[in-house]
Protein backbone atom coordinates (compact mmCIF):
# COMPACT_ATOMS: atom_id res chain seq x y z
CA UNK A 1 0.00 0.00 0.00
CA UNK A 2 1.36 3.44 -0.90
CA UNK A 3 -0.56 5.32 1.78
CA UNK A 4 -1.23 4.62 5.45
CA UNK A 5 -4.46 6.14 6.83
CA UNK A 6 -4.39 8.09 10.11
CA UNK A 7 -7.99 8.68 11.29
CA UNK A 8 -8.47 11.89 13.28
CA UNK A 9 -11.12 12.01 15.96
CA UNK A 10 -13.03 15.33 16.00
CA UNK A 11 -15.85 17.01 17.87
CA UNK A 12 -19.39 16.58 16.50
CA UNK A 13 -19.44 18.60 13.30
CA UNK A 14 -22.39 20.92 12.77
CA UNK A 15 -23.48 23.56 10.27
CA UNK A 16 -21.71 26.15 12.48
CA UNK A 17 -18.34 24.70 11.48
CA UNK A 18 -16.21 25.87 8.57
CA UNK A 19 -14.78 22.83 6.84
CA UNK A 20 -11.46 24.48 5.97
CA UNK A 21 -10.88 25.74 9.52
CA UNK A 22 -11.91 22.36 10.84
CA UNK A 23 -9.40 20.50 8.69
CA UNK A 24 -6.69 22.97 9.64
CA UNK A 25 -7.44 22.54 13.36
CA UNK A 26 -7.18 18.78 13.30
CA UNK A 27 -4.74 17.97 10.49
CA UNK A 28 -2.13 20.68 10.95
CA UNK A 29 1.04 19.24 12.38
CA UNK A 30 0.11 15.78 11.14
CA UNK A 31 -0.34 16.18 7.39
CA UNK A 32 2.70 17.21 5.34
CA UNK A 33 3.18 17.95 1.65
CA UNK A 34 2.99 14.64 -0.21
CA UNK A 35 0.21 13.39 2.06
CA UNK A 36 -3.48 13.60 1.21
CA UNK A 37 -6.14 14.88 3.63
CA UNK A 38 -9.41 13.01 3.16
CA UNK A 39 -12.75 14.30 4.38
CA UNK A 40 -15.92 12.20 4.46
CA UNK A 41 -18.70 13.59 2.26
CA UNK A 42 -21.45 13.80 4.92
CA UNK A 43 -19.59 16.15 7.29
CA UNK A 44 -18.77 18.43 4.35
CA UNK A 45 -22.46 18.51 3.43
CA UNK A 46 -23.44 19.18 7.05
CA UNK A 47 -21.11 22.22 7.23
CA UNK A 48 -22.77 23.45 4.02
CA UNK A 49 -26.20 23.33 5.64
CA UNK A 50 -27.28 20.41 3.46
CA UNK A 51 -28.70 18.38 6.34
CA UNK A 52 -32.46 18.72 6.13
CA UNK A 53 -35.09 17.76 8.65
CA UNK A 54 -37.87 15.64 7.11
CA UNK A 55 -40.41 17.96 8.71
CA UNK A 56 -39.12 20.73 6.44
CA UNK A 57 -39.85 18.71 3.29
CA UNK A 58 -43.27 18.40 1.69
CA UNK A 59 -43.20 15.26 -0.45
CA UNK A 60 -45.04 15.50 -3.77
CA UNK A 61 -47.30 12.77 -5.13
CA UNK A 62 -44.49 11.77 -7.49
CA UNK A 63 -42.06 11.37 -4.58
CA UNK A 64 -44.60 9.32 -2.65
CA UNK A 65 -45.07 7.08 -5.69
CA UNK A 66 -41.42 6.66 -6.70
CA UNK A 67 -40.13 5.90 -3.23
CA UNK A 68 -41.73 2.45 -3.42
CA UNK A 69 -39.28 1.31 -6.10
CA UNK A 70 -35.82 1.51 -4.46
CA UNK A 71 -34.80 -1.24 -2.05
CA UNK A 72 -35.91 -0.62 1.54
CA UNK A 73 -32.27 -0.49 2.64
CA UNK A 74 -31.55 2.18 0.01
CA UNK A 75 -31.30 5.90 0.63
CA UNK A 76 -34.35 6.96 -1.38
CA UNK A 77 -36.91 4.69 0.26
CA UNK A 78 -38.68 7.46 2.17
CA UNK A 79 -40.86 10.16 0.58
CA UNK A 80 -38.66 12.91 2.10
CA UNK A 81 -35.45 11.59 0.60
CA UNK A 82 -37.13 11.02 -2.78
CA UNK A 83 -38.56 14.55 -2.74
CA UNK A 84 -35.10 15.98 -2.05
CA UNK A 85 -33.74 13.90 -4.92
CA UNK A 86 -36.38 15.43 -7.20
CA UNK A 87 -35.41 18.90 -5.98
CA UNK A 88 -31.72 18.17 -6.61
CA UNK A 89 -31.91 17.10 -10.27
CA UNK A 90 -35.49 17.77 -11.35
CA UNK A 91 -38.53 15.53 -11.77
CA UNK A 92 -37.92 14.63 -15.48
CA UNK A 93 -34.44 13.27 -14.76
CA UNK A 94 -35.62 11.25 -11.76
CA UNK A 95 -38.53 9.87 -13.81
CA UNK A 96 -36.26 8.97 -16.72
CA UNK A 97 -33.86 7.30 -14.30
CA UNK A 98 -36.72 5.30 -12.81
CA UNK A 99 -37.91 4.13 -16.25
CA UNK A 100 -34.40 3.11 -17.35
CA UNK A 101 -33.81 1.38 -14.00
CA UNK A 102 -37.08 -0.54 -14.55
CA UNK A 103 -35.82 -1.86 -17.89
CA UNK A 104 -32.42 -2.53 -16.32
CA UNK A 105 -34.06 -4.66 -13.67
CA UNK A 106 -35.71 -6.80 -16.35
CA UNK A 107 -32.36 -7.57 -17.99
CA UNK A 108 -30.58 -7.91 -14.65
CA UNK A 109 -28.58 -4.67 -14.76
CA UNK A 110 -28.09 -2.63 -11.60
CA UNK A 111 -27.20 1.01 -11.01
CA UNK A 112 -29.03 2.45 -14.03
CA UNK A 113 -31.08 4.83 -11.90
CA UNK A 114 -28.04 6.71 -10.64
CA UNK A 115 -26.29 6.58 -14.04
CA UNK A 116 -29.24 8.40 -15.63
CA UNK A 117 -30.64 10.53 -12.79
CA UNK A 118 -27.21 11.57 -11.54
CA UNK A 119 -24.62 10.14 -9.22
CA UNK A 120 -25.22 13.08 -6.89
CA UNK A 121 -28.36 11.23 -5.79
CA UNK A 122 -26.30 8.26 -4.66
CA UNK A 123 -24.74 10.57 -2.08
CA UNK A 124 -28.03 11.25 -0.31
CA UNK A 125 -28.06 9.73 3.18
CA UNK A 126 -31.56 9.06 4.39
CA UNK A 127 -32.61 9.60 8.01
CA UNK A 128 -30.73 7.32 10.33
CA UNK A 129 -27.80 7.26 7.91
CA UNK A 130 -25.34 9.16 10.05
CA UNK A 131 -24.43 9.93 13.65
CA UNK A 132 -26.62 11.73 16.20
CA UNK A 133 -27.73 14.49 16.24
CA UNK A 134 -27.84 14.28 12.42
CA UNK A 135 -29.52 10.86 12.42
CA UNK A 136 -32.83 12.75 12.29
CA UNK A 137 -31.88 14.51 9.04
CA UNK A 138 -31.72 13.63 5.37
CA UNK A 139 -28.20 14.60 4.27
CA UNK A 140 -27.60 15.58 0.66
CA UNK A 141 -24.28 15.19 -1.09
CA UNK A 142 -21.76 18.03 -0.69
CA UNK A 143 -22.04 21.02 -2.98
CA UNK A 144 -19.04 21.83 -5.22
CA UNK A 145 -16.65 19.26 -3.76
CA UNK A 146 -13.91 20.31 -6.22
CA UNK A 147 -13.97 23.85 -4.85
CA UNK A 148 -13.90 22.62 -1.27
CA UNK A 149 -10.78 20.51 -1.80
CA UNK A 150 -9.12 23.44 -3.61
CA UNK A 151 -9.79 25.68 -0.60
CA UNK A 152 -8.32 23.08 1.75
CA UNK A 153 -5.27 22.70 -0.49
CA UNK A 154 -4.72 26.47 -0.57
CA UNK A 155 -5.20 26.89 3.19
CA UNK A 156 -3.04 24.01 4.38
CA UNK A 157 -0.68 23.33 1.51
CA UNK A 158 -1.52 19.63 1.42
CA UNK A 159 -3.58 17.83 -1.20
CA UNK A 160 -7.13 17.02 -0.20
CA UNK A 161 -9.97 14.79 -1.31
CA UNK A 162 -13.61 14.21 -0.47
CA UNK A 163 -14.81 10.62 -0.52
CA UNK A 164 -17.88 8.52 0.09
CA UNK A 165 -16.87 5.20 1.63
CA UNK A 166 -19.15 2.46 2.86
CA UNK A 167 -18.74 -0.79 4.75
CA UNK A 168 -19.07 -2.82 1.56
CA UNK A 169 -15.58 -1.54 0.70
CA UNK A 170 -16.93 0.76 -2.02
CA UNK A 171 -14.94 3.99 -2.32
CA UNK A 172 -16.19 6.90 -4.40
CA UNK A 173 -13.79 9.84 -4.69
CA UNK A 174 -15.84 12.96 -5.42
CA UNK A 175 -12.95 15.40 -5.85
CA UNK A 176 -9.20 15.43 -5.32
CA UNK A 177 -6.39 17.96 -5.78
CA UNK A 178 -2.99 17.15 -7.27
CA UNK A 179 -1.82 14.23 -9.35
CA UNK A 180 -2.48 10.94 -7.64
CA UNK A 181 -3.19 7.41 -8.69
CA UNK A 182 -6.87 7.11 -7.77
CA UNK A 183 -6.59 3.35 -7.31
CA UNK A 184 -3.88 3.84 -4.66
CA UNK A 185 -6.09 6.34 -2.83
CA UNK A 186 -9.13 4.04 -3.01
CA UNK A 187 -7.09 1.12 -1.74
CA UNK A 188 -6.00 3.15 1.28
CA UNK A 189 -9.62 4.04 2.10
CA UNK A 190 -11.12 0.63 1.36
CA UNK A 191 -11.44 -0.39 5.05
CA UNK A 192 -13.42 2.76 5.81
CA UNK A 193 -11.12 4.61 8.22
CA UNK A 194 -13.92 7.20 8.60
CA UNK A 195 -15.56 4.60 10.84
CA UNK A 196 -18.91 2.91 10.72
CA UNK A 197 -20.26 3.35 14.22
CA UNK A 198 -19.75 6.22 16.62
CA UNK A 199 -16.05 6.45 15.87
CA UNK A 200 -16.28 10.10 14.81
CA UNK A 201 -13.22 10.21 12.56
CA UNK A 202 -14.46 12.23 9.57
CA UNK A 203 -10.94 13.38 8.63
CA UNK A 204 -8.25 10.92 7.61
CA UNK A 205 -4.68 11.82 6.70
CA UNK A 206 -3.21 9.47 4.12
CA UNK A 207 0.50 9.34 4.86
CA UNK A 208 2.64 8.47 1.89
CA UNK A 209 4.72 5.42 2.68
CA UNK A 210 8.39 5.18 1.66
CA UNK A 211 9.00 8.80 0.77
Amino acid sequence: MKYQPIPLRTHIITDKDDIVKLVRTYAEGIAEPGDVICVAESPVAITQGRAILPQAVRPSLLARFLRHFPRKEGSLATPWAMQLAIQEVGAPRVLLGAVVAGFGKVVGRRGDFYRVAGRVLALIDDIGGTLPPYDRYVILGPKDPARVVDFIRQAIGVDALIADVNDLKCVDILAVTGEHDLEDLKEALRDNPFGNDDERTPIVVLKRVGK
Binding site: I6, L8, T10, K72, T78, D126, D135, D197
Partner: protein, 359 residues
Protein backbone atom coordinates in the same frame (compact mmCIF):
# COMPACT_ATOMS: atom_id res chain seq x y z
CA UNK B 1 6.98 17.80 14.60
CA UNK B 2 5.55 17.08 18.05
CA UNK B 3 3.95 13.63 18.25
CA UNK B 4 0.20 13.63 18.76
CA UNK B 5 -2.52 11.33 19.90
CA UNK B 6 -4.88 11.23 16.92
CA UNK B 7 -7.68 8.89 17.87
CA UNK B 8 -9.04 6.81 20.69
CA UNK B 9 -11.55 4.05 20.29
CA UNK B 10 -13.03 1.13 22.13
CA UNK B 11 -14.51 -1.95 20.56
CA UNK B 12 -18.19 -1.16 20.85
CA UNK B 13 -19.65 -3.40 18.14
CA UNK B 14 -17.13 -6.18 18.27
CA UNK B 15 -17.63 -7.27 21.90
CA UNK B 16 -19.89 -10.12 20.82
CA UNK B 17 -16.97 -11.51 18.89
CA UNK B 18 -14.40 -10.23 21.35
CA UNK B 19 -16.16 -11.86 24.23
CA UNK B 20 -15.18 -15.24 22.93
CA UNK B 21 -11.69 -14.23 24.06
CA UNK B 22 -13.20 -12.25 26.98
CA UNK B 23 -11.45 -9.00 26.20
CA UNK B 24 -12.46 -5.38 25.77
CA UNK B 25 -9.92 -3.15 24.11
CA UNK B 26 -9.16 0.55 24.20
CA UNK B 27 -6.93 1.57 21.32
CA UNK B 28 -4.96 4.82 21.49
CA UNK B 29 -3.58 5.87 18.11
CA UNK B 30 -0.71 8.32 17.74
CA UNK B 31 1.68 9.64 15.12
CA UNK B 32 4.72 8.18 16.93
CA UNK B 33 4.90 5.21 19.30
CA UNK B 34 4.26 6.31 22.91
CA UNK B 35 7.40 4.76 24.36
CA UNK B 36 7.05 6.84 27.54
CA UNK B 37 3.68 5.77 28.80
CA UNK B 38 2.50 4.62 32.17
CA UNK B 39 -0.55 2.53 32.98
CA UNK B 40 -1.82 2.59 36.51
CA UNK B 41 -4.84 1.44 38.36
CA UNK B 42 -6.78 4.08 40.27
CA UNK B 43 -8.87 1.51 42.09
CA UNK B 44 -10.61 -1.72 41.12
CA UNK B 45 -12.76 0.17 38.63
CA UNK B 46 -10.42 2.63 36.99
CA UNK B 47 -7.32 2.60 34.81
CA UNK B 48 -5.33 5.66 33.78
CA UNK B 49 -2.92 5.73 30.86
CA UNK B 50 -0.51 8.68 30.78
CA UNK B 51 1.37 9.45 27.57
CA UNK B 52 4.29 11.82 28.11
CA UNK B 53 5.69 14.05 25.37
CA UNK B 54 2.47 13.97 23.35
CA UNK B 55 -0.02 16.53 22.12
CA UNK B 56 -3.70 15.79 21.68
CA UNK B 57 -5.68 16.12 18.44
CA UNK B 58 -9.13 14.89 19.51
CA UNK B 59 -11.11 17.24 21.73
CA UNK B 60 -10.83 16.71 25.46
CA UNK B 61 -13.89 15.09 26.97
CA UNK B 62 -15.77 11.90 27.58
CA UNK B 63 -16.19 9.07 25.13
CA UNK B 64 -19.19 6.93 26.15
CA UNK B 65 -18.64 3.19 25.61
CA UNK B 66 -21.02 1.15 27.83
CA UNK B 67 -19.97 -2.24 26.47
CA UNK B 68 -20.68 -4.00 29.75
CA UNK B 69 -17.19 -3.54 31.14
CA UNK B 70 -16.01 -0.07 30.07
CA UNK B 71 -18.46 2.70 30.86
CA UNK B 72 -16.57 5.77 29.67
CA UNK B 73 -13.17 6.99 28.56
CA UNK B 74 -12.13 10.49 29.60
CA UNK B 75 -9.50 12.16 27.48
CA UNK B 76 -7.60 15.14 28.95
CA UNK B 77 -4.43 17.16 28.55
CA UNK B 78 -2.95 16.58 31.97
CA UNK B 79 0.10 18.76 31.26
CA UNK B 80 1.67 20.82 28.48
CA UNK B 81 3.08 17.67 26.85
CA UNK B 82 1.05 15.02 28.57
CA UNK B 83 -2.16 13.24 27.63
CA UNK B 84 -4.25 11.33 30.13
CA UNK B 85 -6.67 8.56 29.14
CA UNK B 86 -8.92 7.68 32.05
CA UNK B 87 -10.81 4.40 31.52
CA UNK B 88 -13.84 3.96 33.79
CA UNK B 89 -14.86 0.37 34.40
CA UNK B 90 -18.11 -1.08 35.67
CA UNK B 91 -16.30 -4.09 37.15
CA UNK B 92 -12.77 -5.04 38.13
CA UNK B 93 -10.65 -6.29 35.24
CA UNK B 94 -7.14 -7.51 34.59
CA UNK B 95 -5.20 -5.04 32.44
CA UNK B 96 -2.60 -5.74 29.78
CA UNK B 97 -1.06 -3.37 27.25
CA UNK B 98 0.64 -3.91 23.95
CA UNK B 99 2.30 -1.49 21.56
CA UNK B 100 2.19 -1.75 17.79
CA UNK B 101 4.63 0.56 16.04
CA UNK B 102 3.42 1.88 12.72
CA UNK B 103 1.58 4.72 11.08
CA UNK B 104 -0.37 5.33 13.23
CA UNK B 105 1.16 3.61 16.23
CA UNK B 106 -1.32 1.83 18.46
CA UNK B 107 -1.19 1.40 22.20
CA UNK B 108 -3.80 -1.23 23.05
CA UNK B 109 -5.16 -1.60 26.57
CA UNK B 110 -6.72 -5.05 26.92
CA UNK B 111 -9.22 -5.53 29.71
CA UNK B 112 -10.21 -9.00 30.85
CA UNK B 113 -13.99 -9.58 30.82
CA UNK B 114 -13.88 -12.69 33.02
CA UNK B 115 -15.85 -10.89 35.75
CA UNK B 116 -18.83 -10.61 33.41
CA UNK B 117 -18.73 -14.32 32.73
CA UNK B 118 -18.88 -14.92 36.47
CA UNK B 119 -22.10 -12.92 36.63
CA UNK B 120 -23.85 -14.62 33.73
CA UNK B 121 -22.69 -18.23 34.01
CA UNK B 122 -25.60 -20.54 34.78
CA UNK B 123 -28.22 -17.91 33.91
CA UNK B 124 -30.83 -18.92 31.35
CA UNK B 125 -32.67 -16.13 29.53
CA UNK B 126 -35.76 -16.74 27.47
CA UNK B 127 -35.51 -14.33 24.53
CA UNK B 128 -38.86 -13.83 22.84
CA UNK B 129 -38.89 -12.02 19.49
CA UNK B 130 -42.54 -10.97 19.32
CA UNK B 131 -45.03 -11.91 16.57
CA UNK B 132 -43.85 -14.04 13.61
CA UNK B 133 -45.37 -16.02 10.75
CA UNK B 134 -48.83 -14.77 9.87
CA UNK B 135 -48.64 -12.13 12.58
CA UNK B 136 -46.31 -9.41 11.27
CA UNK B 137 -46.85 -7.04 14.20
CA UNK B 138 -46.56 -3.37 13.37
CA UNK B 139 -45.36 -1.97 10.07
CA UNK B 140 -43.27 1.18 9.58
CA UNK B 141 -43.62 4.00 7.01
CA UNK B 142 -41.28 2.15 4.62
CA UNK B 143 -42.84 -1.20 5.50
CA UNK B 144 -40.21 -2.49 7.90
CA UNK B 145 -42.04 -5.26 9.75
CA UNK B 146 -41.87 -5.65 13.49
CA UNK B 147 -41.60 -9.45 13.34
CA UNK B 148 -38.44 -9.28 11.20
CA UNK B 149 -36.70 -6.50 13.12
CA UNK B 150 -37.23 -8.07 16.55
CA UNK B 151 -36.16 -11.50 15.29
CA UNK B 152 -32.84 -10.05 14.18
CA UNK B 153 -32.34 -8.23 17.50
CA UNK B 154 -33.35 -11.42 19.35
CA UNK B 155 -30.74 -13.49 17.55
CA UNK B 156 -28.09 -10.87 18.28
CA UNK B 157 -29.15 -10.71 21.93
CA UNK B 158 -28.91 -14.50 22.23
CA UNK B 159 -25.36 -14.33 20.83
CA UNK B 160 -24.44 -11.52 23.20
CA UNK B 161 -25.79 -13.42 26.22
CA UNK B 162 -23.93 -16.59 25.21
CA UNK B 163 -20.74 -14.59 24.67
CA UNK B 164 -21.04 -13.33 28.26
CA UNK B 165 -21.26 -16.90 29.54
CA UNK B 166 -25.05 -17.11 29.94
CA UNK B 167 -27.51 -19.33 28.15
CA UNK B 168 -30.17 -17.94 25.83
CA UNK B 169 -33.24 -19.73 24.54
CA UNK B 170 -35.13 -18.16 21.63
CA UNK B 171 -38.90 -18.66 21.46
CA UNK B 172 -38.55 -18.53 17.69
CA UNK B 173 -35.44 -18.50 15.53
CA UNK B 174 -37.23 -18.08 12.23
CA UNK B 175 -40.29 -16.40 10.76
CA UNK B 176 -43.04 -18.69 12.05
CA UNK B 177 -46.18 -18.58 14.14
CA UNK B 178 -45.74 -19.36 17.82
CA UNK B 179 -48.70 -19.71 20.13
CA UNK B 180 -48.60 -17.91 23.43
CA UNK B 181 -48.62 -21.23 25.31
CA UNK B 182 -45.49 -22.44 23.51
CA UNK B 183 -43.90 -19.02 23.63
CA UNK B 184 -44.00 -18.75 27.40
CA UNK B 185 -43.95 -22.46 28.30
CA UNK B 186 -40.39 -22.50 29.60
CA UNK B 187 -41.09 -19.43 31.69
CA UNK B 188 -44.29 -20.98 33.06
CA UNK B 189 -42.37 -24.08 34.04
CA UNK B 190 -39.73 -21.96 35.75
CA UNK B 191 -36.94 -23.43 33.60
CA UNK B 192 -35.47 -20.00 32.84
CA UNK B 193 -34.22 -17.16 35.03
CA UNK B 194 -36.11 -14.41 33.23
CA UNK B 195 -38.09 -13.60 30.11
CA UNK B 196 -37.21 -10.76 27.73
CA UNK B 197 -39.87 -10.17 25.09
CA UNK B 198 -38.86 -7.92 22.18
CA UNK B 199 -41.35 -5.61 20.51
CA UNK B 200 -41.57 -2.26 18.78
CA UNK B 201 -43.82 0.60 19.81
CA UNK B 202 -46.68 1.36 17.47
CA UNK B 203 -48.41 4.35 19.04
CA UNK B 204 -50.41 5.21 15.91
CA UNK B 205 -48.64 8.50 15.34
CA UNK B 206 -45.30 9.22 13.76
CA UNK B 207 -44.51 11.94 16.30
CA UNK B 208 -43.57 9.61 19.13
CA UNK B 209 -40.04 8.24 19.30
CA UNK B 210 -38.14 6.22 21.80
CA UNK B 211 -38.08 3.21 24.02
CA UNK B 212 -40.37 1.89 26.71
CA UNK B 213 -40.23 -1.22 28.88
CA UNK B 214 -43.26 -3.02 30.26
CA UNK B 215 -43.03 -5.49 33.10
CA UNK B 216 -44.97 -8.30 34.70
CA UNK B 217 -46.25 -6.73 37.93
CA UNK B 218 -46.94 -9.99 39.73
CA UNK B 219 -43.25 -10.84 40.05
CA UNK B 220 -41.37 -8.58 42.50
CA UNK B 221 -38.15 -8.53 40.47
CA UNK B 222 -39.72 -7.58 37.16
CA UNK B 223 -39.58 -3.79 37.81
CA UNK B 224 -35.88 -4.11 38.65
CA UNK B 225 -35.21 -5.95 35.41
CA UNK B 226 -37.28 -3.40 33.47
CA UNK B 227 -35.35 -0.53 35.06
CA UNK B 228 -31.97 -2.02 34.14
CA UNK B 229 -33.01 -2.72 30.56
CA UNK B 230 -34.52 0.73 30.09
CA UNK B 231 -31.51 2.43 31.64
CA UNK B 232 -29.09 0.53 29.41
CA UNK B 233 -31.02 1.43 26.25
CA UNK B 234 -31.38 5.10 27.08
CA UNK B 235 -27.85 5.62 28.41
CA UNK B 236 -25.99 4.18 25.45
CA UNK B 237 -28.26 4.87 22.51
CA UNK B 238 -29.66 8.22 23.71
CA UNK B 239 -33.15 7.06 22.79
CA UNK B 240 -36.14 9.07 23.90
CA UNK B 241 -37.07 7.69 27.28
CA UNK B 242 -40.75 6.67 27.36
CA UNK B 243 -40.34 5.10 30.76
CA UNK B 244 -41.32 1.80 32.29
CA UNK B 245 -44.85 0.61 32.92
CA UNK B 246 -46.62 -2.42 34.33
CA UNK B 247 -48.49 -4.78 32.02
CA UNK B 248 -50.22 -7.73 33.63
CA UNK B 249 -52.28 -8.79 30.64
CA UNK B 250 -49.56 -9.66 28.17
CA UNK B 251 -47.65 -12.20 30.23
CA UNK B 252 -50.41 -13.72 32.32
CA UNK B 253 -48.98 -15.20 35.49
CA UNK B 254 -45.36 -16.28 35.36
CA UNK B 255 -43.07 -17.47 38.15
CA UNK B 256 -40.03 -15.59 36.76
CA UNK B 257 -39.25 -11.89 36.16
CA UNK B 258 -40.59 -10.88 32.76
CA UNK B 259 -40.39 -7.74 30.67
CA UNK B 260 -41.48 -6.67 27.20
CA UNK B 261 -39.40 -3.90 25.75
CA UNK B 262 -40.62 -1.67 22.93
CA UNK B 263 -37.17 -1.01 21.52
CA UNK B 264 -38.17 2.00 19.41
CA UNK B 265 -41.37 3.31 17.81
CA UNK B 266 -41.82 1.75 14.40
CA UNK B 267 -44.34 4.36 13.26
CA UNK B 268 -41.73 7.08 13.62
CA UNK B 269 -39.69 7.46 10.40
CA UNK B 270 -36.42 8.16 12.23
CA UNK B 271 -36.77 5.21 14.58
CA UNK B 272 -37.72 3.01 11.65
CA UNK B 273 -34.72 4.24 9.66
CA UNK B 274 -32.43 3.47 12.60
CA UNK B 275 -33.83 -0.05 12.75
CA UNK B 276 -32.88 -0.63 9.13
CA UNK B 277 -29.22 -0.42 10.14
CA UNK B 278 -27.63 -3.65 11.40
CA UNK B 279 -25.22 -1.56 13.45
CA UNK B 280 -28.13 -0.10 15.38
CA UNK B 281 -29.73 -3.52 15.86
CA UNK B 282 -26.42 -4.85 17.14
CA UNK B 283 -26.17 -1.95 19.56
CA UNK B 284 -29.69 -2.63 20.81
CA UNK B 285 -28.66 -6.22 21.54
CA UNK B 286 -25.53 -5.03 23.33
CA UNK B 287 -27.59 -2.69 25.50
CA UNK B 288 -30.10 -5.42 26.36
CA UNK B 289 -27.32 -7.82 27.35
CA UNK B 290 -25.74 -5.11 29.50
CA UNK B 291 -29.08 -4.51 31.24
CA UNK B 292 -29.39 -8.26 31.90
CA UNK B 293 -25.84 -8.40 33.22
CA UNK B 294 -26.55 -5.56 35.65
CA UNK B 295 -29.74 -7.28 36.79
CA UNK B 296 -27.95 -10.56 37.50
CA UNK B 297 -25.12 -8.70 39.19
CA UNK B 298 -27.66 -7.59 41.78
CA UNK B 299 -28.76 -11.20 42.17
CA UNK B 300 -25.19 -12.29 42.73
CA UNK B 301 -24.71 -9.57 45.33
CA UNK B 302 -27.73 -10.81 47.23
CA UNK B 303 -30.17 -8.26 45.81
CA UNK B 304 -29.38 -5.86 48.63
CA UNK B 305 -30.72 -2.90 46.78
CA UNK B 306 -33.62 -4.53 44.98
CA UNK B 307 -36.01 -4.01 47.84
CA UNK B 308 -34.48 -0.73 48.88
CA UNK B 309 -34.87 1.02 45.57
CA UNK B 310 -36.96 -1.43 43.60
CA UNK B 311 -34.48 -1.11 40.77
CA UNK B 312 -31.73 1.23 39.71
CA UNK B 313 -32.09 4.92 40.42
CA UNK B 314 -34.00 5.52 37.28
CA UNK B 315 -34.42 9.01 35.91
CA UNK B 316 -36.65 8.15 32.99
CA UNK B 317 -39.71 10.23 32.37
CA UNK B 318 -42.21 7.44 32.94
CA UNK B 319 -44.90 10.00 32.22
CA UNK B 320 -47.00 10.35 29.14
CA UNK B 321 -45.82 13.17 26.90
CA UNK B 322 -48.31 15.53 25.28
CA UNK B 323 -48.99 13.41 22.22
CA UNK B 324 -49.27 10.23 24.26
CA UNK B 325 -51.62 12.01 26.63
CA UNK B 326 -53.82 13.05 23.72
CA UNK B 327 -53.86 9.47 22.40
CA UNK B 328 -54.54 8.19 25.87
CA UNK B 329 -57.55 10.45 26.17
CA UNK B 330 -58.72 9.45 22.69
CA UNK B 331 -58.53 5.80 23.70
CA UNK B 332 -61.25 6.52 26.25
CA UNK B 333 -59.19 6.98 29.42
CA UNK B 334 -59.88 9.92 31.70
CA UNK B 335 -57.44 9.42 34.53
CA UNK B 336 -54.14 10.63 33.13
CA UNK B 337 -51.25 9.16 35.14
CA UNK B 338 -49.23 11.80 36.92
CA UNK B 339 -46.19 9.65 37.45
CA UNK B 340 -46.34 10.14 41.21
CA UNK B 341 -47.57 6.62 41.78
CA UNK B 342 -44.20 4.94 41.55
CA UNK B 343 -42.15 7.71 43.07
CA UNK B 344 -41.99 6.14 46.50
CA UNK B 345 -40.25 3.13 44.98
CA UNK B 346 -37.62 5.26 43.30
CA UNK B 347 -39.01 4.03 40.02
CA UNK B 348 -41.44 6.22 38.20
CA UNK B 349 -44.02 4.12 36.51
CA UNK B 350 -47.34 4.36 34.78
CA UNK B 351 -50.34 2.57 36.18
CA UNK B 352 -51.73 2.20 32.73
CA UNK B 353 -50.68 3.14 29.25
CA UNK B 354 -52.16 3.74 25.85
CA UNK B 355 -52.78 0.88 23.49
CA UNK B 356 -49.52 -0.23 21.92
CA UNK B 357 -50.48 -1.54 18.53
CA UNK B 358 -47.14 -3.27 18.30
CA UNK B 359 -48.09 -6.00 20.69
Amino acid sequence: MKPKVTNIRATTIAPVLEDSTLVSRVIIESTLPPLRHTVRRVNSKGVIVILSGFGLTPPEGTVPVYDGLISEIVLTRSGPDEVSVDIHLEHPAEVQTSLEVGMPSRLTVRLDRAYLKGIMTGRVILVDPGHGGNDPGASGPTKVLEKNAVLDVGRRLASAVRAMGGEAVLTRDEDRDVTRGIRFRQAHEGRVDCLVSLHLGAPGTRNIRGTKTLYLPSHPESPTLAGHIQEALVQKLKLNDRGVARDGKYFGDLPVPAIATELVCLHNPVDEALLRSWIFRERLAQCLSRGLKNFFLLARNGRKDVHRANGPHYEGSGYLNDVETANYRRSGHRDIPTGDEGASHGLKEQRDFPKGGGR
